[in-house]
Structure formats: structure tokens, C-alpha cells
């Protein structure tokens, strides 16, 4: 539970960052990094999974309220929080048990791959739920890719701050 209070605090910080700063950056006038998912990506995998999903839902819902987007961010946050375990089932070392995987401790290259896949997934889902139309989603591919790259940059940057390998 103590860990979850820490995660709630981290989520609050990232939500404030997203709303006050990242939503207004508009890099090159058009691109908005999405960093609020970072704390969701480092939540424990199987411990208190229902609580993790509720945290993700309310994080997304709060952002939806601010952005007038209904439940787009809530749906995205819950989805990526749930499917993380499927990613680790596929990519983990066969000898390793899913319960013992600590995201903070995985190698940086694996972490970048993990962040990249989930940030891309989140971006596609946000634009897909907004458009509700595959044709329109395809038109947005450039924005999705650039938003993803910028978001990955910031998320890796934050990860290095919070889990700097040099500190270990």
C-alpha cells in the first residue's frame, strides 16, 4: 500500500506536468508529448492489479475532464496498464517468473523498447478513439509517429532521473 501512495504521488506530479506544461508545448506548433503514462508503465505488474487498473482509470478520467475528451485517455490508460503483462509474457526470459519482474530493474535497452511499444500503442489508441474511423487514423500517421518519438524522449529522460543506473 505504501508503494501505491508513492505511485499516486508520482502520477499526480506527471498529471500536473502533462496539463500545465506538456499540453501547451505544441512542438513545431503541432506535436504534443504524452508523458502521463510513464508512472502507469512502471507500476508493479501483478501486485494489486485491480488497484493499478483503477489508478489508471482515474488518471485518464482526470485528464479527460480537463481536455473535454470524454473517456479517451481513461480507456487508453486502462488498456496499456492491463496489456503490459502480455508484453512481458512474450519478451521475458523463459526462466524468469512474471511475478518477480521489476520494471525498474530491467536493462535500459529493453526498457526503451518497452516504453516505445506502449507509447506508440497509447498514441494510436488516443487518435483511433477520437476518430472512430480507420481512414482518418491513417491520415494522422505522421503526427502519431512524431508524438511517439517526442514522448519516448521525455519518458526515457524521466526514467533516467528516477532510476539512474549510476545511482545503483
Amino acid at each position: 500500500m505504501r508503494h501505491h501512495i508513492e505511485y499516486i504521488l508520482l502520477l499526480s506530479v506527471f498529471l500536473i506536468l502533462q496539463i500545465i506544461w506538456f499540453n501547451h508545448i505544441r512542438l513545431f506548433g503541432y506535436y504534443t508529448p504524452i508523458v502521463f503514462i510513464y508512472p502507469l508503465l512502471i507500476l508493479p505488474l501483478l501486485k494489486n492489479e485491480s488497484l493499478n487498473l483503477l489508478l489508471a482509470f482515474f488518471t485518464g478520467l482526470f485528464l479527460d475532464t480537463i481536455s473535454n475528451t470524454g473517456g479517451i485517455f481513461a480507456a487508453t490508460a486502462v488498456f496499456i496498464t492491463y496489456v503490459r503483462k502480455i508484453y512481458f509474457m512474450i519478451f521475458k526470459n523463459p526462466a524468469q517468473k512474471l511475478d518477480y519482474i521489476q520494471i525498474a530493474n530491467i536493462a535500459i535497452t529493453q526498457k526503451i523498447l518497452y516504453f516505445s511499444i506502449f507509447v506508440l500503442m497509447a498514441q494510436i489508441m488516443i487518435y483511433a478513439l477520437d476518430a472512430f474511423n480507420i481512414g482518418l487514423l491513417i491520415l494522422k500517421w505522421k503526427i502519431i509517429i512524431i508524438n511517439t518519438l517526442i514522448s519516448i524522449f521525455f519518458i526515457v529522460f524521466f526514467d533516467l532521473i528516477f532510476f539512474n543506473p549510476a545511482k545503483k
Binding site: I20, H24, E49, F57, T65, G70, L129, F132, L136
Partner: protein
């Protein structure tokens, strides 16, 4: 029964996941529906308060742009005053005082989705009502969708659900403006009659038939058009004058006679 409960307990996480996703999807569908306008005032109020604080911080970075915009607006008003004095004996195009302009600031602006909205810092307490137009010095911004006491939510022209009555400048041929979804300044005008004298570079203005915007507000220039086969109308592609990615001061246009006009349309 106990077996069923045990089975459900073993799938607890999956059930929570499905339940939360369903709630989120219901929220999305409800928000996308144009008919669900009149609820969630509290949501607008909370969003407005937080976005206003954010905007206060951001306004400092755009002070110069806002100043330029206000100077331009002042110049336009001075020009209009001069023209009005010179043409004092002519009949004005609309009834005096029919349109009231309420200045406001955009405190939150979306432009990267398909159904974009924005928030302004004026609401019912300033006389802003749903179905009133919002413009800048460079063109139209959108239509007020719902209001709370101090804020209003505006459907941006960058919203695929919105259609606005427009006309070809210096003619009475009219059609409907809608966003293509392909860029923040690319729009198309549909249902323009086939006998309208269209050429590239012509200006599209507001049509004034809906009573939301007065006739004659410039929207953009034509850069292409095509005939709709079998429909006897044109689809015109235009590039808008206004930059929807950089909005600050705006004006809400309140038509004092809209209720009267609407009652006759019924």
C-alpha cells in the same frame, strides 16, 4: 454457485479491466453525441478553473502576439467608425445593435483531434449563451456548445461534426463549411450550386443565414474545387485566414434577434 463465485474471483482483474473500459467507451460515445449538450456543467467549470490557471502562466509567453492582435482590432474598429461617419446617410447592412460583441480569452484549445473543442473564459454571467458564434480578428473560431457560469465550451471549426453556412463573396450563392480533418487550415465547402461563378483565389465569407454569424466575415481563399457528379453542386477546397493553433483574444457574437428569427423558421 460457490464454483461460479470462485471462478469470477479468479478472473477479477480481467473483469475490472472490461468494466473500466466499458465505462470509458460509454463516456466517449456520450461526449461525441452532439445531442448530449446540456449536461456536465460542473465538468466545464472544473476544467475552466484549471485551464485558466494554466493559461495565466502561458499568456506571459504570448503577450506580444496578443498585443499585435489587439492593435489590429483597434485599427479595424477605427476604420469602421470612419466609414460609418462618411456613409451616415446609407442604410446599414444589419439592424443597429443586432449583434453584440463580447470579448473573451481562449483558455484551452484543442486542434490535433478530429472532434476538437475549446474553452473560453466567459460564460452565462457575461451573457454568453449556447449557439452563439465565436470569432477572432482573422475569421471564425466556432460555435458555443454549452456554458457554465463563468466559462463556455466552444465546438471548434476543427471539428468534423460542425457545419457552418457560408457564401461566395459578392454573391448570394451559399453552401456549408466543414473541416476536412487533414490540416488546421484546410476546409471544404459543400453544396455550393453548380451555376456559382467560382475561381481560384476567390474569398469565402460567412453566409449569415443561420443567425449565428453576421454575413460577411472572411473565412478563407479558394485553392481548388471539383464538381460532385450527379449532384449539381461544387465541393470547394479553401485555406482559412485564421490560425487555429494560435488563439488568444476572441469575440463572442450574440445575435439579439436570433430567437425571433428562429421562431419564424419553425
Amino acid at each position: 454457485m460457490i464454483k461460479l463465485l470462485k471462478y469470477l474471483a479468479s478472473k477479477q482483474n480481467f473483469l475490472v479491466f472490461v468494466f473500466l473500459e466499458l465505462i470509458a467507451l460509454i463516456l466517449i460515445i456520450k461526449t461525441n453525441n452532439y445531442t448530449q449538450l446540456k449536461t456536465h456543467n460542473y465538468q466545464t467549470e472544473i476544467a475552466g478553473s484549471i485551464n485558466k490557471i494554466t493559461n495565466i502562466i502561458n499568456q506571459y509567453f504570448y503577450l506580444k502576439t496578443y498585443n499585435d492582435s489587439l492593435l489590429k482590432q483597434n485599427a479595424n474598429l477605427l476604420n469602421q467608425l470612419q466609414n460609418r461617419q462618411q456613409n451616415a446617410n446609407n442604410i446599414p447592412p444589419t439592424l443597429p445593435g443586432q449583434y453584440q460583441y463580447i470579448p473573451a480569452y481562449v483558455i484551452s484549445n484543442q486542434y490535433d483531434l478530429q472532434h476538437n473543442t475549446l474553452l473560453i473564459d466567459k460564460g452565462e454571467s457575461s451573457g454568453v449563451k449556447p449557439e452563439t458564434g465565436v470569432i477572432t480578428t482573422n475569421g471564425i473560431v466556432g460555435i458555443v456548445q454549452k456554458t457554465s457560469l463563468h466559462y463556455a465550451k466552444v465546438i471548434s471549426i476543427l471539428n468534423k461534426n460542425l457545419k457552418i453556412n457560408v457564401a461566395l463573396k459578392n454573391t448570394n450563392y451559399s453552401g456549408f463549411l466543414q473541416w476536412t480533418g487533414k490540416g488546421t487550415n484546410r476546409f471544404e465547402v459543400i453544396d455550393l450550386p453548380v451555376n456559382a461563378p467560382i475561381k481560384k483565389g476567390d474569398t469565402i465569407i460567412t453566409g449569415g443565414m443561420s443567425g449565428i454569424f453576421p454575413k460577411g466575415i472572411p473565412i478563407g481563399k479558394i485553392f481548388g474545387y471539383r464538381l460532385v457528379p450527379g449532384k449539381k453542386s461544387y465541393v470547394i477546397f479553401i485555406k482559412s485566414f485564421s490560425d487555429m493553433t494560435n488563439l488568444g483574444p476572441v469575440y463572442v457574437i450574440k445575435n439579439r434577434l436570433k430567437t425571433e428569427i428562429d421562431s419564424l423558421k419553425l
